[in-house]
Each structure stands twice: as C-alpha cells, then as structure tokens.
C-alpha cells in the first residue's frame, strides 16, 4: 500500500456515502447517550472517516482515540434504516488508526504483542496462561497477596486488572468434551463445535452444555482439539493481518464441507466467524472456503430453532416459576440480528418465566477489552445494566457471551448487597442442558 493511500481511502466510497446522516442511530449509541457530543456518535464517527477518505483530515491521535472510544456494539446497525455497514467502516478505521501508529507507545505495543500476537494466537499459550492463573488462585497465593494489600502498592490499573481477571475453570473444554460424540439413536445432523478462547478456559461448562444440547437434538458433535482463536478480538483492535492468519488456520483445520453447521455459542465469536468471507475476500486461495464457512456458521440458538429443537418436558410437580431475564449480547442481537431464538429457548424452559429487561439490547460495557481500555464508560454502562436487571426482579440472568457474563457478574459484585441475593448469571444453553438433565431424572 503506498504511503498516501489508506484503508479508508481504499474503501468502496459508496459504503461511506450510504450514511445520509439522518441521526436515527444517535439514541441507540451508548457513547452519544453518555456525552451528547456528535463526534461520539456513529454519524459523527462516519463523518470523520469520510473526511479522512476525502483527504480533508489526517489520521490524528484524536481520530484514533475516537475510534477506540466506540464500543463496536453495532447498535447503530440495528437502528439504521439506510443499512450502513458500520462494522466494516469501524474495522477499517481502527486498523488504519493502528497502522498510522498515532497511538503507539512502548507499553501499548508490548501489551498488544503479548495479547493479540502471542496469547490469542497460540492456543497452547492461552491454555498455559489459564492454567497458571488457576494455580495462582488455587494455591492460595491470590488470597495471600490480596489480604496483604500488595496490590495497593502497584499502579491502580494493575490492581483493577487483577480484580477483573477472569475466573478459570479447573478443566478446559478438551477434557470435558470428546473429539467426536454421537447422539443416542440416529444422527440427523453433523456439526462442529467451536469452543472459543475465553469460553474455553473460563466457561468450559458452557461448551459441555452446548454439546449436551446438540446431542439431545440428534446432532453428532465434532470438537477439534486445540482450536485457534477466531480472531474477533484482533479485528476489533485493528489487527486485520493477524485476524486473517487466524482465519486461514481455522479453515485449514476444519473443512466446512464436512459438516451441516459450524456452531458457536459465543456471540462475539459468531458475529466475526460469519464474516470470514469478507475478511478473506482478497485471498484467492481461501475465498471460496471462507464463503462456505460463513454460510455454515450458526449461533447455537439460531441452529436449535432452525432444526426445531425439542422442548424439555416439565418435571412433575411444577412450582412457582422462577423469573429469568435476558441480556442480549451486542454481537448476537446487533452483530447477528438474533433476538427471538434465545428467547424461544428461554420460554421453553419448565419452571421459568421470562421477564423482559429494559434496554435489553444496550451494551453492558464489556465489549471485548473495552472494560480495560475505557473503564469509565464501561463502568457507567455496567451499572446501568445492573439497575435495569434489578428492576425486573429476576433471580436468573441469561446471556450468551462470556464477556457479558463476566461484566454483569462484576457489576452485581460492585453494587454490593447480600451475596445470596445476587442473581445467577448464566448462558441460556446451560439452562436448557439442565432442563434436559432434569427430564432424565424424572
């Protein structure tokens, strides 16, 4: 790419022109709601991108900061009647901001290198890090350090990071799920299950539950060992190059042609997995396979409803139903426009009553690494989410993305109150798996 070109200038200009600045995205944009400043709105950000494409604005530090301030929640794409492809615009702008190096600093480069190009690039490295983190907690060192006030000696951000660090499961997905599992009776569908990165080490039970639910619905489940990261965090953070190599690696390992569907249970991953054809559009070797991949990728709920999942039978006797509410992960409802299917699953659960949450489709502030990079806005959104959830009176919160699950958990912890009064925060597929299991015990 020559020096005077950039990703925004190279974009098809009609993608930028598609925004006719009607403003209907504004009331759904969290950063606009927080500030009421146009620059912090989708329409404002697109105008800056267009100014760059038109050569009226250089990529500045302010431009990069603005793109970093965007959550990438894609709520604007649901609100937009004109069908602006904000996802593509945003990814290009973030990548261009990275490429220009306006935000670069040695510390930032190191963090990016370690996280994006090492931990999230090599499955063994992430699992090793997860194992060490688990040991740190299990052996009592964490309790010792926290009790000693050690973290108060370190910079505040590190202390926060330590508190926010994800809980690690003792057993990861590859221990819990066999490489191939067959359903009782005849297999009606053959699917491959993607176990994710965070999901794999922090929520491996969700992966097990997903396999159980698929098996209960006549799917033969293949779960490749040591899967690669899908690359969504890379794209989100402007590293398109690494994302593309990860996608290629994924396509090398899994042949979409062999399966009826590729199942993801993490909203953020699914949203990105469905865009492999777009990411690899310029790669003649992979473009066809990527298209097949995107075409076959399904979120677990999308798939369950598509194949007409079996509604679990009520265990006798049914008591007072327990109120459950649903928080929509951005990359499920906005990224993939999947809104009715998870609710259909929740409504099918015996013993539960679905109560809608106000602003259920508004971001919780997790947004990949946003809670670390933009703690102020992330906390504002988190607390708003917790208040909305509390207003429903639900004691179970269902949500289908590991980041949201962690963020909401933390929100309730920060809000304080009796630990026993805190709601259970759980992936809907876990509830469905439990319901099937309860049937068997009847």
């Amino acid at each position: 790419m020559s020096a005077d070109r950039n990703l925004l200038k190279d974009l098809d200009y009609s993608v930028l022109q598609q925004c006719m600045h009607c403003g209907l995205c504004l009331p759904t944009c969290p950063t606009y709601l927080e500030t009421r400043v146009e620059r912090h709105s989708p329409r404002g950000r697109i105008s800056l991108m267009r100014a760059v494409a038109d050569g009226e604005l250089e990529i500045t530090r302010t431009f990069a900061d603005e793109m970093a301030y965007c959550l990438g929640c894609l709520a604007c794409t649901t609100a937009c009647p004109a069908g602006v492809d904000y996802g593509t615009l945003f990814e290009s702008a973030r990548a261009e901001a990275e490429r220009s190096g306006v935000s670069a600093s040695p510390a930032r480069s190191l963090v990016r290198l370690v996280s994006l190009r090492f931990l999230l690039f090599r499955p063994w490295a992430l699992r090793l890090a997860g194992r060490l983190l688990w040991l740190y907690r299990a052996c009592g060192l964490q309790a010792l350090l926290r009790g000693s006030g050690f973290f108060s000696l370190l910079p505040r951000r590190i202390g926060e990071l330590e508190r926010q660090a994800i809980p690690i499961r003792r057993r990861f997905s590859d221990v819990l799920i066999a490489a191939v599992e067959r359903p009782p009776g005849e297999a009606r569908h053959r699917v491959v299950l993607l176990t994710g990165c965070i999901q794999d080490i922090a929520f491996s039970d969700v992966n097990r539950a997903t396999a159980d639910v698929l098996l209960a619905n006549g799917c033969e489940v293949t779960t490749p060992r040591a899967q690669s990261c899908c690359g969504s965090l890379h794209v989100h953070n402007g590293d398109l190059e690494t994302a593309a190599s990860l996608a290629r690696r994924q396509l090398d390992a899994i042949d979409p042609g062999r399966f009826d569907a590729i199942i993801s249970n993490s909203a953020g991953c699914g949203s990105h997995l469905k865009r492999y054809h777009h990411l690899l559009a310029g790669d003649p070797v992979y473009v066809e396979r990527a298209a097949a991949w995107s075409h076959k990728t399904r979120d677990i709920f999308e798939w369950l409803v598509e194949i007409g999942f079996r509604k679990p039978a009520a265990p006798a006797p049914v008591g007072e139903p327990s109120p459950v509410t649903y928080h929509e992960a951005c990359h499920l409802c906005h990224g993939q426009k999947i809104t009715s299917q998870p609710r259909e699953v929740l409504r099918s659960l015996p013993g539960f009553e679905l109560r809608e949450c106000p602003e259920s489709a508004m971001c919780c502030g997790s947004a990949g690494v946003y809670s670390l990079t933009q703690p102020k806005t992330a906390t504002w959104l988190r607390d708003r989410k917790v208040a909305n959830i509390r207003s429903t009176g639900a004691n179970v919160v269902a949500t289908a993305n590991p980041g949201c699950q962690l963020q909401i958990q933390q929100g309730f912890r920060a809000a304080g109150g009796d630990a026993r009064g805190q709601p259970r925060i759980v992936h809907p597929v876990v509830l469905l798996a439990e319901a099937y299991r309860a049937e068997a015990r009847r």
Binding site: S14, Q17, Q18, M20, H21, C22, G23, L24, L26, P27, R36, V37, E38, R39, S41, R43, G44, R45, S47, L48, A51, E56, L57, T60, T62, F63, E66, C80, P81, A82, G83
Partner: protein
C-alpha cells in the same frame, strides 16, 4: 472568542477542535456542508444570553441547533459561526395534568415528550419522522409536522407558550396555560417556524390532549397508484377523518420492508397505511367503513393490524421511509412539496411524468391525508449531470405545486434548500415583510443569517 466562551460555560461545554467540528458541519440533508468556528452547549437561558453577548462582541453569527436532523439545511453552520447546540438543556420541567400542558426545555427529545404525556394518559400528537432523536426546540423552530397532520395538525397547533432569547440578549416569554388569551400580538407564532433566525427558543409550553381510548391501523394494497388516491378522496367524502393516511409507492415499500421486516406486500404498486383513533365504538365503525371504502376503490387487499404492537411497528416502519430509501442509491434527496388534498392525484402523476422526462429515479411517499408529499430523488451527488437534472425536475415540481395552490415546503422548512423558491410562492410584498421583521428583531443579522432568505 473561544477563551471567553470557555470562561463563561466551562471547558466541557465548548468544542473547537477540527475533529469535533466536522460532525457539526451537516444536518439531515445530503449536500450542504460548512464548518463552524465553535460549538457550545448552554445549559440555561442565562448561558444562551451570555453566548449571544460574546457573539455580538465578535460579530460572530449564531446558529441554533438541536439534534441536527433537519431536512432543509436550517441548522447548517454559517462560516465563522458559533453553533448553539441545545441538547444539554433537556429538563422536562412540568407536566400539568389538570391543565393538559407540558413545559420543557428546548433540548428535550420529542419522543420523551410523547412518552411523558402517554404515561399520564395524555397525548402529544406531532410525530415527525425523526421524533426518536429530534428536540422539541428544533420542532418548534421548524414547525415540524408528521404523520398525524390530517386530524391533529402540526407543532404550531400545540405551542401555548415560549421562552425566547432575542439577538440583543433579552429573555422574552410569550403565552401561558390559558386556552383563551388575546393579550397583545400573538408573538409566539412569529417564532414558531422561524428557523432560528429571529430568536433562540429555550423553553416551550405545550398543549396536550387526552389519549384516544382506542386506535386501529389498516394496511391497504393497490395495483394502481390512482386507486389509492381515489380511496383517500372517498374516505374524506364519507366524512371520516383518520388520524393518519400514509402513502408509499412500490420503491418505498421494498426499501422500508428490507429494513423493518414488517411483512409489507412487496408486489403492491401502492400502499395506504390508515390509522383511526378515538372512542372504541367510533374507531370500530370508522375502521369497518375505511376497509369497505378501500375495497370499493380497488384495493387488492386490506389488512388490519392485529394489536397495538403491530400498529406501532407499521408506523415506525413508515417513519423510516426516508432513511430506508438511502439503500437504493448513494444520495437521497427528499422534498416536501405539498398541495391541497383535492389535488393529490394530479400532483403525483406530475411527479411521475417529471421523473420520466428527466430520466430520474423518484420514489414517492407521504402524508396523503394532508396533501404533504415526499418525492425523493435517488441519485448520486458525484454525478454532476444527473444532479443538474434533479435541480430542473425540482423546479418544475415546485412550480406545479404552486400552480395547484400548494406550497414549496409542507413541513421541512425553507432553510437553505428552498430559499430560491420562496419569493415565487410569497410574492414581493409578503416576502419583503419577512425581511423587515428580521431587520427589526435582529438588526445586526446575528441569528442564522442567510437562512430562509438572503439579507
């Protein structure tokens, strides 16, 4: 000047960086663009007075702005101007259920006003397409319309009082909660629709109505556009006044459904969306009659909305029509030529012929009940030859609308977009009166200069 503004309002309320100003250089129109010198966010009328003081001192023009969703270029900055953005004056001051009034600061969103009234069992009818984000101050400045014009009128019909800051810094209050008030000139109406050229509206007192007890929405499909127009005439002839009678042509139908997925009949040539409201018995009777009249006038199918939720989805879908049309071509130019209801069919035919004559793609939708049409040019601003043809077609459409006793703008305002056509509609004497009024209230030509007419 910037330092003075920051001293008065605080650093968080003043923007001057290039990256901050670019997003304030446009509104909801496609082609007008101009950078201001600064954007300020006053939080009270007193701060507006202070900003105007600085502006007078530096002879900097002041452009009032709400959410920037205008469709005539009214809030496009003037070179060197201060954009006075009122979105942070967003306090809903009082809802008076005994007098059916609501008092709010200018930056309150139209949707919030509707919701507050609704929660009290009351009703604020004006519902411009952008109501989810438009501010009430902007609605008053543009005298916005919406879908319910036929039965309920427009913003002007609900303004009982205003607080306005004049160019000289005086704070004036007009009107009150009295239904009857003939004290002095009716000055509030001078400011309604004045597009920020005569004063800055900082607070509004609005009239509310009791919320209609029942509503019913019907959707009628047609294979001929004329049949839809004839239906409207027949409904009115039967002395039925629906609250909305919206019309969509085939292009609009397809774009709207691609966005809203509300199951519009994609093969229809034209669609009428009719809502009747009022007492449940009257609504049931009106709805049955409307359905019958639609059938008698060639509707190929008539569908009743199953419930309030479906009716709301259909109305929301219709409100998105303008933006949804942007799916077709890079540039979408929306017009709002308006004619007396009785001339609708002729006007629509003329628009179709004009589009064909200039080989332009025009989608048409609009408020059939009140004669307010939205011919929308689907074009590309980068194609100069085509843009020239758009301009020619627009001129012809306006001229024909005036010939039919209509107006160049039903609800979007003159702003920059219709400036060239205003004199033709008003005539010399009335047009000059506008300028005299402006010169009296704003002798230094400080407030939104160059909008509506050249000074």
């Amino acid at each position: 000047m910037t330092d003075q503004l920051i001293r008065l309002l605080g650093p968080g309320q003043v923007l001057t960086q290039k990256e901050d100003l670019i997003p304030y250089s446009f509104d909801g129109t496609p082609v007008f663009r101009q950078m201001p010198a600064a954007v300020v966010f006053p939080r009270s009328a007193a701060e507006v007075v202070a900003v105007l003081g600085v502006a007078r001192q530096h002879k900097a023009p002041v452009v009032a702005r709400g959410s920037g969703t205008g469709l005539s270029g009214g809030s496009i900055p003037v070179p060197g101007s201060i954009v006075l953005c009122l979105v942070r004056m967003d306090r809903l001051i009082e809802l008076d259920a005994r007098n059916f009034t609501l008092r709010a600061q200018a930056g309150v969103l139209t949707q919030a006003i509707y919701d507050a009234a609704d929660a009290a069992g009351l009703f604020y009818p004006p519902d411009p397409g952008s109501m989810k984000i438009s501010t009430i101050g902007g609605n008053v400045a543009e005298n916005s319309g919406g879908l319910r014009g036929l039965k309920y009128g427009v913003t002007r019909d609900y303004v009982m009082g205003l607080e306005v800051v004049l160019a000289g810094g005086e704070i004036c209050r007009f009107g009150n909660k009295c239904v009857k008030d003939v004290s002095g000139y009716n000055l509030k109406d001078v400011f309604v629709g004045s597009e920020g050229t005569l004063g800055i509206v900082t607070e509004v007192l609005l009239k509310l109505l009791p919320r209609p007890a029942a509503r019913q929405t019907l959707l009628a499909s047609y294979s001929r556009m004329d049949a839809a127009a004839e239906t409207v005439s027949a409904i009115i002839a039967a002395r039925i006044v629906p609250c909305t009678m919206e019309f969509l042509d085939s292009k609009t139908i397809r774009c709207v459904d691609a966005y809203a997925h509300v199951g519009l009949p994609l093969d229809a040539e034209a669609l009428l969306l009719v809502e009747v409201d009022g007492h449940p018995a009257a609504v049931a009777d009106d709805a049955a009659q409307v359905a019958r009249i639609c059938g008698e006038n060639g509707a190929t199918s008539v569908r009743l909305a199953a419930d309030a939720a479906e009716a709301a989805r259909l109305a929301t879908a219709r409100r998105s029509a303008f933006s949804a049309l942007a799916r077709m071509k890079p540039t979408t130019i929306l017009e709002d030529a308006t004619v007396p209801r009785s001339e609708l069919a002729r006007m629509i035919r003329f628009i179709q012929e004009t589009g064909a004559r200039h080989s332009l793609e025009i989608a048409t939708f609009g408020h059939f009940g009140d004669g307010n049409l939205h011919p929308t040019f689907l074009t590309n601003e980068r194609d100069q030859a085509e843009m020239h043809r758009v301009e020619l077609a627009m001129r012809e459409i306006f001229a024909f609308a005036l010939e039919l006793g209509g107006t160049i703008t039903g609800e979007h305002g003159v702003g920059l977009a219709k400036k060239a056509f205003l004199k033709g509609q008003m005539g010399e004497a009335s047009y000059n009166l506008l300028r005299k009024l402006k010169a009296t209230l704003d002798p230094d030509n400080l407030l939104n200069p160059g909008k509506i007419f050249d000074t």
